[in-house]
């Protein structure tokens, strides 16, 4: 374990903030949807994919990134956006569909674009992998040492575009890190039914890149693996594939009846919660103390609360604004 105290606390903060963001969203999302749940009703309509439980994937990688590094995230993007430093106020306003949103309310929660930190996301499975390759190519062609990170779920590696992106990154030896968040479910389909192999890292040699699997949602081993991958990429040594075993606490989307998964699965996962584990690690190793950690958590919660307050106050867009920004 090579993480500095700063990095450890940064990751702790990123994870706490993301968790609190998602738990808050779970509540906020239900405003106006009770007693009868209607996906199009309420304060925040549309699909909502929350990432509580998956925070290590975001924090353990983004801790190594700079603003000029590109991250492409999928339909479950909040934790990654937060770790990448996306403007939390404007992100939340976007999810609320308000004028101060990153896209003025045009995109919503699956379409968060913050060029200031080179963060993009998209709702089509694996769609972000090729653009990550392109961002990396652009950086290299301009002699910059910026890199790109592509996040997908474990359902995505079976999508053709993911494969094409890995081969491109491999054959051109580009600075890309591919992160697979393996929460073991693609909606209701378990990995064993979607993927011919148990471990996607096995596929990495087929693209001339190293493949690593991180077990047990462990942010510390991920931190190390990502440090290596990012360093290799930045040094021009090519791409890496990292698959992270992770946990999904909520349903696939809010409102998911979750009939397909064992009732107590989530309980079991929560017993080994990654934030709790990092907390205990920091305490047990006397890296910091509980008041420090509580102070961090407090700052995170305040920031998140402020973002939700900002979003609530932001005005609804004018209907005819929908006609703007199709082209620049």
């Amino acid at each position: 374990m090579s993480a500095t105290k700063d990095d450890l606390l940064w990751m702790y903060a990123a994870m706490v903030k993301a968790r609190y963001y998602e738990d808050t969203m779970a509540t906020v999302y239900m405003e106006g949807k009770k007693p009868k749940f209607d996906i199009g009703a309420g304060l925040v309509p549309g699909e909502m994919h929350l990432a509580a439980g998956q925070e290590p994937c975001a924090a353990g990688v983004c801790v190594h990134l700079r603003n000029d590094d590109t991250v492409t995230a999928p339909h479950r993007p909040h934790h990654v956006a937060i770790a990448k430093g996306v403007d939390l106020n404007r992100m939340t306003a976007e999810i609320f569909g308000r004028v101060d949103g990153l896209g003025g309310g045009r995109g919503g929660h699956m379409h968060l674009f913050d060029p200031a930190v080179n963060f993009v996301c998209s709702g089509i499975i694996a769609e972000g992998a090729p653009p990550a390759v392109g961002a990396a190519l652009g950086a290299r062609m301009n002699g910059r040492d910026a890199i790109a990170v592509s996040y997908v779920g474990e359902g995505a590696p079976n999508q053709g575009g993911f494969h094409e992106a890995l081969n491109l990154a491999g054959v051109w030896q580009l600075p890309v890190v591919f992160i697979i968040e393996d929460n073991s479910w693609g909606i209701s389909v378990p990995k064993s039914k979607s993927t011919a192999v148990a471990d996607n890292a096995i596929r990495a040699p087929g693209y001339a890149m190293p493949g690593v699997r991180i077990e047990n949602n462990d942010v510390l081993t991920l931190y190390d693996a990502a440090a290596d991958a990012v360093a290799r990429a930045r040094a021009g040594q090519g791409p890496t594939l990292i698959e992270v075993e992770t946990y999904r606490y909520y349903g696939h989307f809010q409102g998911d009846p979750e009939i397909y998964r064992p009732k107590d699965e989530v309980k079991g996962l929560k017993a080994k919660d990654p934030i709790d584990r990092l907390y205990h690690y920091l305490m047990d190793n006397q890296i910091t103390d509980s008041s420090d950690l509580e102070a961090i958590a407090q700052r995170c919660r305040e920031e998140v609360d402020a973002a939700y307050a900002f979003a609530r106050k932001s005005p609804e867009p004018a209907p005819e604004a929908a006609l703007e920004h199709v082209f620049v």
């Binding site: 199009g40 709702g123 359902g155 209701s188 389909v189």
Partner: protein, 338 residues
């Protein structure tokens, strides 16, 4: 005595599939979350339980793979029903549909056939933004070799799906998410209807005149049928009697019913949730004008999604989707009573 009960569109679809699967062991269903989840939009309710995992087959997120596999299965004697969860995802697998399913019959002069149904969820109205809310009717209808169906209610949904499954050609069956009658998404009152228990078919290429009227013809499909009917009610209070035609299928397109109606009414509004340009609205209008340029007594009207990505935010999406108000106002405009 034939019996019927009121069903949602999704139950009507599931029933059509179940009946065809019982009748023909070559029929099977394949797609993402069609098994234990019973279809993200409830199109496969009860099927896993009755038919098991082999015939109700969950797939990886590999649309090119499993739709292409559907074509191969169909050509080897099976009758696959394949689900593309959201029509918006067609971009990752369009080749399997328009270059493979749609053309193999032609290439082989009919010696090979592709009896596959591609069923797919369309439409917006619940704030799911531009990659999950498209209608894309014309994207399919423009490409030869595919039949394209888009029902507006449960009765048609069952009959058209049964026809689709029995058809020896590839059929794209576009069901609107907002018509399914999901417990978690609002749907218009008219979507759920009485549905006979026994199996029945509805021929493709026969539009249904849902409401008769002498003043203006409103042509609609899928969700816009409901907006058109509501508009017609509204217009009736103003003394404008609208005839509402539900096209039901885009390919084949029942031009005759539309032309015959416009001959009587002299006025035409076409309502479609798909994008305005290069779509269904211009196809229908042109079909009338090229046949009889003199039937139209006023400028034909299109009510469609503007040529913009479907916006997420509620006020924006609400203002862009075709609805009763926009349809009624178009009818007033073309009849000169606006």
């Amino acid at each position: 005595m034939p019996s019927s009960r009121k069903l949602t569109v999704s139950r009507a679809m599931s029933e059509a599939i179940a009946q065809e699967m019982r009748a023909d062991p070559q029929t099977f269903v394949m797609g993402e979350d069609v098994g234990a989840f019973e279809g993200v939009f409830d199109s496969t309710l009860g099927l896993l339980e009755e038919f098991g995992e082999e015939r109700v087959r969950d797939t990886p997120i590999s649309e090119t793979g499993f739709i292409g596999a559907g074509v191969g299965a169909a050509m080897s004697g099976m009758r696959p029903i394949v689900e593309l969860m959201f029509v918006d995802f067609i971009g990752v697998c369009m080749n399997a549909v328009y270059n493979l399913a749609a053309k193999n019959t032609y290439f082989s002069a009919g010696n090979c056939k592709v009896p596959m149904v591609l069923m797919t969820g369309t439409g917006g109205g619940y704030n799911d933004a531009a990659q999950h809310s498209q209608a894309l009717h014309a994207t399919f209808a423009h490409l030869p070799g595919l039949k394209v169906v888009a029902p507006s209610n449960a009765y048609d949904a069952k009959g058209l799906l049964t026809t689709a499954i029995r058809d020896d050609n590839p059929v794209v069956y576009m069901f609107h998410k907002g018509l399914q009658g999901l417990v978690w998404m609002a749907s218009p009152a008219g979507a759920a209807t009485e549905v006979p228990e026994e199996s029945y078919t509805i021929p493709f290429g026969e539009a249904r005149t849902v409401r008769s009227g002498r003043d203006v013809t409103i042509v609609a499909i899928s969700m816009t049928v409901h907006g058109a009917l509501a508009a017609a009610e509204e217009l009736a209070t103003e003394g404008i009697e609208a005839e509402v035609i539900d096209l039901r299928t885009l390919v084949p397109l029942d031009r005759d019913t539309v032309i015959e109606s416009v001959k009587r009414t002299g006025h035409l509004v076409v309502a479609d949730e798909d994008y305005r340009s290069y779509g269904l609205t211009s196809e229908v209008i042109t079909s009338v004008v090229e046949a009889h340029p003199d039937y139209l007594k006023g400028p034909p009207q299109r009510v469609a999604m503007p040529d913009i990505p479907v916006p997420y935010s509620r006020p924006m999406e609400d203002a862009m989707l075709p609805n009763a108000e926009r349809i009624a106002s178009a009818a007033r405009h073309t009849t000169g009573r606006g």
